[in-house]
């Protein structure tokens, strides 16, 4: 178990929504305890991914569903804690990560007859690089729900520490191991 008071932590996009939807009582207790000490820190990239998602759903929806999608979007924005902007330092670190790992370590996602395009997969991989870079620059452990991708970033950084001076290792914590 991770001590909730030992934060703050940076939450990856899928970790944030997974924890918000969890029904596990131990995790719910952990989230409540964490929020009594620290807010959820996220990257501006997470806001971008989320906003794009709400907006796309809104555009695809019938008129009668749009109000509830908009209410969800407003609820999300009202819950936002600190949002880490992209800056020069994060751009430099993310550029190193993208150069080290130009291709996603896992294939595009599939679900029944649906699939993620290679272009979308690459964009999402680059967003992950920006989020990992934000955690490094902010010196915060990254809470994630995507072990295959972020472990690849952590390993690559460990193999070439000279490209990430004074930034230390990327500290990763899986959502499921929080409580």
């Amino acid at each position: 178990m991770i001590d909730p008071a030992s934060g703050p932590f940076l939450f990856d996009t899928s970790a944030e929504s997974w924890l918000a939807r969890t029904k596990h009582s131990e995790l719910l207790t952990w989230v409540g305890a964490y929020l009594s000490h620290h807010p959820f820190h996220i990257s501006a990239i997470t806001v971008l991914e989320r906003t794009r998602g709400y907006s796309t759903l809104w555009r695809r929806a019938q008129e009668e569903s749009r109000e509830s999608i908009e209410a969800s979007r407003i609820a999300y924005l009202s819950a936002l804690g600190p949002v880490w902007p992209l800056n020069g330092a994060i751009a430099v670190v993310a550029g190193e990560i993208m150069s080290l790992l130009p291709d996603p370590p896992t294939p595009p996602r599939r679900s029944h007859h649906l699939a993620e395009s290679h272009q979308e997969r690459l964009a999402r991989w680059r967003f992950d690089g920006l989020i990992a870079a934000t955690a490094l620059v902010a010196r915060m452990p990254l809470i994630h729900n995507n072990a295959a991708d972020f472990e690849a970033v952590r390993s690559a950084i460990e193999r070439t520490p000279e490209r990430f001076p004074d930034l230390g290792p990327l500290e990763l914590i899986r959502c499921a191991s929080l409580a």
Partner: protein, 92 residues
């Protein structure tokens, strides 16, 4: 600036409270040990209690907003909210 000093600058009001005897005894002991008066110790404890109440309230508000933000969506829609765009696969 310590809490006791900062409390001395805020507007004060006299009131009468009924407190549990054991809490009052503990507060008096703390006041004696720190060399401050009983009002200071009780004011600090009240401020901390109110702060915790506010934090808990905010934490519940955030959790409720998060639940509302992600409820009522299908798995594919939730994936989209996480940045994963799934489209119909092209026929092979």
């Amino acid at each position: 600036m310590g809490p006791a000093r900062s409390l001395s600058k805020v507007k004060k009001q006299r009131t009468t409270l009924t407190l549990p005897s054991d809490s009052l005894t503990k507060a008096k002991n703390i006041a004696r040990a720190r060399g401050v008066n009983l009002s200071t110790v009780i004011s600090e404890a009240l401020s901390e209690g109110l702060r915790i109440h506010e934090v808990t309230k905010r934490s519940e508000e955030v959790l409720n907003s998060y639940r509302k933000a992600f409820s009522g969506f299908t798995e594919v829609e939730l994936a989209l909210l996480d940045g994963v765009v799934l489209e119909p696969s092209p026929r092979r």
